[in-house]
Subunit: 332 residues, 2 copies
């Protein structure tokens, strides 16, 4: 792991020439270049990116901050981002925050010190995010994913969560459902969950019904039977359940079936996100499909664009309603 000087000496050239052989090969005569390469093979030389980064003031690293990797939505998005980044010659520094604002700030600070060239983040709540406030003063290229495009200072890539949940609820209403409940994870942690609940409320209200209070689970990814049962009793007899994400929906279906309910015959369940697995199971999951890969791709392309000095604007991506087997017409 020696340095360029050693290589240069062995190759019988100056250090500058050796350096050029790596960073600007076309500016070095072929014979000279080969000598340099041979020499670096011999001594096991490998360019030191840290030194290069210091010198060029550019790390070619993108910082990626996500709430969690337990939700396939985020992990597939990360996978897509990584591919775009690598194709563009960038590496990824990754951190998760578990929807914790303090961790968000700590992660951010660390990435800024690392001098990442850009940032792609999904914060828990863009409205009251200390780390976004901090970022406003930084000249760093930043792209938000999923967060509502509230902060006009930031480029955002997202779907319209409010509208999506409005339509999803509408689908259930169209099927004749009147007793529709909505479940979510800890909702004050997530601005998207709030938007989705608002979408649900508006759909209910527009249809002349009063929205039910949100059924809030302790985890973002697992439904709790005990919190579900009261809504299925004789008093509050839900015929449909709409969920803030697919993992919640799938585990809710599991809970219901385990309690002897048949889905969708006795109760319809609708998810949100459109994770791949939902399509394969039986009954297949009805869901709002977010273009997960595209979200990651567009977000990464946007930061890279910003870094390259291009003019980039926020993007609203299209969602679709996937008609699965987990919902059916309401009957009495």
């Amino acid at each position: 792991m020696t340095d360029l000087l050693t290589v240069a000496r062995l190759a019988g050239v100056s250090r500058a020439t050796a350096a050029r052989a790596f960073s600007e090969p076309e500016k070095v005569r072929e014979a000279t270049r080969d000598k340099v390469y041979a020499a670096s093979e011999a001594v096991g030389f490998r360019p030191n990116y840290v030194a290069r980064q210091l010198r060029t003031q550019s790390t070619r690293i993108i910082g990626v901050m996500l709430p969690t990797l337990c939700n396939p939505l985020f992990s597939e998005q990360l996978q897509a981002m990584e591919q775009v980044a690598r194709a563009g010659g960038y590496s990824l520094m990754v951190a998760t925050t578990d929807y914790d604002a303090e961790r968000e700030s700590a992660v951010m600070e660390n990435m800024l010190r690392q001098r990442v060239d850009g940032l792609v983040l999904t914060v828990a709540d863009a409205q009251q995010s200390a780390c976004l406030a901090l970022l406003e003063r930084e000249p760093l290229p930043v792209v938000l994913v999923h967060n509502p495009a509230a902060a006009p200072h930031f480029i955002t890539v997202s779907v319209d969560n409010h509208q999506a949940m409005y339509q999803a609820t509408g689908r259930l209403l169209d099927l004749g459902h009147r007793h529709i409940g909505m479940i979510a994870g800890p909702v004050q942690q997530s601005d998207r969950a709030r938007l989705r609940y608002q979408g649900y409320c508006q759909a209910m209200t527009n249809a002349g019904m009063s929205p039910l209070p949100l059924i809030e689970m302790a985890h973002h990814t697992r439904a709790d039977t005990r919190l579900l049962l009261p809504w299925l009793g004789p008093e509050q007899k839900l015929t449909a359940l709409i969920c803030s994400n697919d993992l919640l929906a799938l585990s809710a279906i599991g809970c219901l079936q385990r309690q002897g309910y048949r889905v969708p015959e006795q109760i319809s369940v609708m998810g949100f996100d459109g994770i791949a697995l939902g399509e394969m199971l039986c009954p297949s999951l009805s869901s709002v499909v977010q273009p997960q890969q595209e979200l990651g791709q567009v977000a990464m392309e946007s930061v890279l664009g910003l870094i390259a000095g291009a003019v980039i604007s926020s993007r609203r991506l299209d969602f679709t309603l996937r008609q699965g087997e987990s919902i059916a017409r309401a009957r009495f």
Copy 2:
């Protein structure tokens, strides 16, 4: 984003003192320290880790290389690793390889140039991995996850895949199954899949049966009904299916149910990995449970240990068989 010298001047101290205020605060008088901090606030100074990395020859970055993030096994493992790393003051550089040996080598080379302090990797096939061969000559701390501890040069954290699948198959045999098929993704891509198939074969042979050829799917994460059906016809009437991973198992159950088969009444299905979702669905998935978080934790602790100069050895972690509702006694 100014530098230490600016801060020092403003604070009326030397650059060395300003530096110490950050890296060794206890060696600076409190009054001086405060002046430095005040000055750095004023000019918006933030320590430059790149410069520090160059000087100290240590990046406090761990490179993590995984086949894919689409399998929750890997993404949850990554999440666990990230937490341990952050707690230890390390950051993560993450890349995926999609089981492609060339991408493995490219990713590796990039991480070496980035001067990561250590590496945690899962390669497609440890036996014939160009990047592992390359690594043997490097003095870098490396920990392999999941790969069989074949290469004695490397610390490995894994479960015994062969033994696990042997026992899982045994469980089906104990339930009276005789026609047990195994499905997997592209098997030549993964040394684990091969080991698991061997475990299956040995269990079958020991029980006096001849193992069936592997049913190989095009994707690691999705079963294909068309490839499954021939094994359910009158000639090859399987009563149990054992799968190389849980996503394959869950999608296989979906395929079967969609074809009108009842699980487990008509056919038992067993998975491998023990992803969280499997437990929530109905029928719940019988599976070999790998300690996903522990795998990540132990792996990360091991590299950090190696970096710290501790003596670390390979670890075999325990797996368990989860008895789910997807398997039942064979009947005729």
